[in-house]
């Protein structure tokens, strides 16, 4: 029957003969082809693109993982969190501690096996998330935003003062170095460091994104969306609010932890000051620009934000009054800082559904062709 069925399904994308087919991630042929094409394109990119750009793209891929986490809690579950940077910091330091040099003056266990420190980073962040979550079950909206904002400041203080781990304010610490199959990804070999890291980041992002998509379209995802739309109504429908808010925060923090563990692999080190409010805003910007409650949108948003400095750097050539040197005003670095805010405002005003919304409109235009609805 399956062979017969295949013939019948061809050209009839909407003829779903079982629920699985309808709920499949790639439920149409064109989606399947499109996804394969994009992945293939992304995979061959390092062969043609310069290494400095690859490093930026790697940061984008890892930022996307973190942003997907924020999108789960803020986009899907509607719990506004400004404290994402805190969880990223937890992840970064946990990974550094687990894999760090035992002979160093700072804490280090010297376990260089990547799965251990990567998972450890994720789990440590997730644990913190689970501890914070009960607060979220009692607060919502603006109050929750303020509380999570507090989290960032607590984090800043902790990272600065916990000298055994961070070394103190403005002290940089070596980031964990990913190794795969006995190959250190941060050293040049047959492939350059940037190429290897990029491929690794791409693979991990695909895994994490698919995981998140699966969570979003499962019972958990539906519960989270019900809570977002109206928590009282969700409770009445039988959604256990406490349970699902805890799940949302835990999961989100796990993603943040993974992101933190890998974010500085290509730069090599990081300081406590990195995990400030700006980073949280950066993640919020990614989610808003990419598209609330979409995974693919988040990836688009992360790439855009990661590339923003590069784009801004090119601007003086086109915009005469903008200077490329830091001593003149206005310069691109100032512009860059403003850009996050400007992009958020512009997107909220004109494209509330983010980059994904633009894509969605384009798709609908052709999907409904030659009609308009």
């Amino acid at each position: 029957m399956t062979t017969l069925m295949k013939g019948t399904r061809w050209g009839r994308p909407e003829l779903y003969t079982d629920y699985r087919q309808e709920m499949a991630l790639l439920n149409t042929r064109s989606k399947k082809a499109g996804t394969i094409a994009i992945i293939a394109l992304a995979a061959v990119l390092p062969l043609t693109v310069a290494d400095d750009l690859l490093a930026i793209l790697y940061a984008g891929l890892i930022l996307a993982i973190g942003a997907i986490g924020l999108n789960l809690v803020t986009g899907y579950a509607g719990q506004v969190s400004l404290g994402h940077a805190f969880f990223v910091g937890i992840g970064a330091y946990t990974a550094a501690v687990i894999s760090g040099d035992p002979d160093d003056r700072r804490l280090g266990y010297g376990i260089e096996l990547m799965p251990v420190w990567l998972l450890g980073a994720g789990l440590a962040a997730a644990l913190c998330g689970a501890l914070i979550a009960p607060v979220a079950t009692r607060l919502r909206g603006l109050y929750l935003a303020v509380v999570t904002l507090g989290l960032v400041f607590i984090g800043q203080y902790l990272f600065r003062e916990f000298r055994e781990i961070s070394g103190g304010a403005e002290q940089s610490r070596r980031a964990a170095e990913p190794t795969l199959f006995g190959m250190n990804l941060t050293e040049d070999g047959a492939w350059t460091e940037e190429q290897k890291l990029y491929w690794f980041g791409l693979g991990l992002l695909i895994v994490m994104a698919v995981l998140a998509r699966n969570v979003a379209r499962s019972r958990i995802g539906r519960a989270l969306q019900a809570i977002r739309d109206r928590d009282v109504a969700a409770g009445v429908m039988g959604v256990d609010l406490t349970r699902y808010k805890v799940i949302a925060f835990t999961l989100s923090s796990f993603y943040a932890g993974i992101c933190g563990a890998l974010l500085y692999a290509s730069i090599g080190s990081f300081t406590p000051e990195r995990f400030g409010l700006l980073m949280s805003v950066q993640f919020i910007a990614i989610v808003l620009i990419g598209g609330v409650a979409t995974i693919s949108g988040t990836i688009m948003g992360a790439m855009l934000i990661a590339l923003l400095p590069r784009i801004a750097g090119e601007l003086p050539a086109f915009v005469p009054f903008l200077s490329g040197s830091p001593s003149e005003h206005p310069n691109v670095f100032e512009f860059q800082e403003v850009m996050y805010g400007v992009l958020i405002v512009v997107f909220l005003l004109f494209e509330p559904r983010g980059l994904f919304g633009i894509w969605h409109r384009v798709r609908t235009y052709w999907k409904s062709f030659p009609f308009s609805y």
């Binding site: 029957m1 003829l15 779903y16 009609f371």
Partner: protein, 616 residues
Amino acid sequence: MTRTLVTRIRDRAAATPRGVAMREKRLGVWHEITWASYWDSVVDVAHALLSLGVQPGDRVAIQSENRPEWLILDMATVAIRGTTVGLYPTNPSAETDYLLTHSGACVHLAEDQEQVDKVPDVADAPTLRTIIHVETRGLRTYDDPRLLPWDRLVELGREHRAAHPGAVEALLEAAELDDVITLVYTSGTTGPPKGAMLTHRNAEFALSTVLEKSPFTDPAPGPKDLTLSYLPLCHVAERVLTTWYNAGAGTQVNFAESIETVPQNLREVQPTLLFAVPRIWEKLLASARIKLDSATWFKRRHARFWLARADRMGQTLAANGGRHTLGTRLVYAVGWVFFYRALRDRLGLRRVRHASSGAAPIAPEVLQFFMGIGVPMHELYGMTENTAIATANRPGRVKLGTVGETHEGIEVRLDDQTNEILTRHPAVFAGYWQDPEATANTMTPDGWLRTGDVGEWVDGTHLRITDRMKDIIITAGGKNVAPSEIENGLKASPFVKEAIVIGDGRKYLTALIGIELDTVGAWAQKQNLAFTTYRDLSEKPEVRALVQSVVDEVNTRHNPVEQIKRFQLLPKELDHEDGELTATQKVKRSAIDAMFHDLVEEMYAGAAAGSTGGAA
């Protein structure tokens, strides 16, 4: 032993047990029923009918929307040599009473609470012993002892099957070609419905004609073809196309959720063979036009360009019998990439390789539109009494405005005096159920069936139907006018849903016109015309002016005697429940005359002597 519909199913189930026989949409998913499970259900239910005491020749009635149970019970009944009686789900209570008592059915399938409520009491229908129902919702508190849920029926069948293995097979073997397999009640535009008896012989002849002797498609319909089942199964055309084609050719039947969801279901199923009544084609055309007109600027311009090409292609195709010329083929190939493929996909017609219209006259403009966008359209002709098989337009030999050529092995001739169409072939029915008088009136002594339609030959090969014999209008001036042609001209406009031309014994022709709420509503919105109800919209002077323009346009195509001098807009949508339409959506002229008498008289009020004068 004789080959019947049921043995065809049995053989197919043995040959391709895992092939798909039908699909039914439940909760958004099309559930598939394989041939093996279809056949198994038929046998189970046939045993159940035996255990309910159904004897060969007994009638089993079905009043349900199209669903697998319809086919299963139908074929189970035929398997044990019973007779199936189909009722329209829209039949009002009084008609249900009449049909059940007239046919003397002993088992009746009433789909749900709505249908169960229509079933007459024990006193009124003494023969009716069992009422099977499929949907149990709302029926739990009913204590009618005749009620039997479908699941229980199947259980009964399994028990009986275990106790009496081979009982059904024995009856299957004993089946004879002259067994009456179904009573098809004609819709009855005049008088009560009459039950046409169709036999195995009729069914086998009809199937062998369209599938083997002169198949209407190449390759002939087969297991790879999909059909959408949405017209009432008690109508002969849908029964042939759904149940019989399924059994005879193995086509995959897909049941539409309801008549309202047909556009959506068409898109999902993308059938390869599609039969529709003119009403559906008109509706598809109208909704395509509305959607294209309300698209964004670029899409609208794009559509206009390609529709103009389609229009030209339609004309060429029509002139060419439906065959492409090199020029149209090239234009179509380019247009397919840019427009027609997408349009047909949205309409659910992308994979249609044979589209047909029948059961009522259709305006050639509608056929031409679909031909233009690449849907191979064919008009067919047949009626209940000849198992819906008489003439058809053949691919490549289409003549618009005709109902095509005679099938092989079928005799069609015109009556010398009246030009009435007569047919004679083995698919002509066995007579009306318990109505020998009506049978005698319909059949000539030498076996010709009087169709009641007046026709003429075009080029000696194609048959053109002028009108129903009893609908022909003779004006006060003594002129014979065929109203259906004028009515269809009017109905070809997307704004007109119903048109009834009046003028029998009158000085001039008038028309009652019903507007199409969707299209006129959309038009009114564009004109910033506020309206509340159908009636309110009908009474707008702007709408009147709009319809006037349609009438004027149609009038230019006819000579003065056949022109509509005045018209009135109907204040309501015509409806089966109110007795204005038959179950097949045909207008009951007598009912309309009575109901809208005042409107009609108003149109003739100016010409006071209109109704009496001139007749002499």
